[in-house]
Assembly symmetry: C2
Homo-oligomer: 157 residues x 2
Amino acid sequence: MSETDRGPVPAEPADRLIEVFDLVGPLYRRAQRKVEQEAPIEGLSVGVRAVLNMLREHGPMTVPQMGRAQALSRQFVQRMVNDATAQDLVGAVPNPAHKRSSLIRLTPRGRAAITAVIDRERAVLRQIDGELTEAEIAACVHVLSRLLRLLDDVDVD
Amino acid sequence: MSETDRGPVPAEPADRLIEVFDLVGPLYRRAQRKVEQEAPIEGLSVGVRAVLNMLREHGPMTVPQMGRAQALSRQFVQRMVNDATAQDLVGAVPNPAHKRSSLIRLTPRGRAAITAVIDRERAVLRQIDGELTEAEIAACVHVLSRLLRLLDDVDVD
DNA sequence: TCAGTCATGACAACTAAGGTGTCATTATTT
DNA sequence: AAATAATGACACCTTAGTTGTCATGACTGA
């Protein structure tokens, strides 16, 4: 119906990857909204949530590291870290590697908050556990990671 | 390093799905930025691009339909359609099914613009064609689709 | 058929995610 | 020691996307 005139298209891998991107958009937006609905309980903005989650799974990091890891500008992450600090969700500890840039790490309160959020999300995701195989999920992670690396040259700052 | 005290975690499927979401965020943002860098050539905002792309692969649709399809508010899509109309990228045709809500479809100019954009993206994606199998990509699409459906109850408007 | 409800388009106001530019300060590096 | 790069801080801005409201025209069901 939407084909112009050159007949059926072979649908090469690149096209299937475009399908992936077409899914990423709506998924991202829906997930954002879900987080917004849930997180207010803890009073977390999406940005703060992202920071806490990074610290949760990666351990203490510096602000610039987090920015690079999430493809966010250093300044934005800084603001989120400042917010989180004001709420006593994260704290700074001296960084042995870089004297200027301290390591940010979760406070007990921060850990409790992010754990609660993640647990609630896990509960939602468990609803579809049975329908997806481990292999499929692994493949998905793999494909997305590769795509991410492809776009990595997009540098911030 | 970030484990609190309850030892190694089994990493159930729900956790792997959280990994998926952790990838979706950065991927979405990087993709947005790439689009922003490319699209200015055609003068397309991200929203307009999304509309054109929907029409490209789905054929003519009404504004509310597009909103639902992309989990975007009706009003936002409307604005994008208005923008696109002003640029002569899309046009309205009478809708046999609903007399009030006309069908939006690509104009030749619109089709040319979105085709150019997609082709450029396809070229980028072809760089990694060889590294991902068809099966992996298919699995990825499957997983993302399922997740999308899970979050579907989030209704706009 | 007529009342009531529903869906659409239009417009306005708003929120928040996220970027950019700049400056002073402090680390690294050579 | 000088030059360069990285960090934090702050201000400003862009724009994606929502929400609210209203008038109007379209279905629907009694």
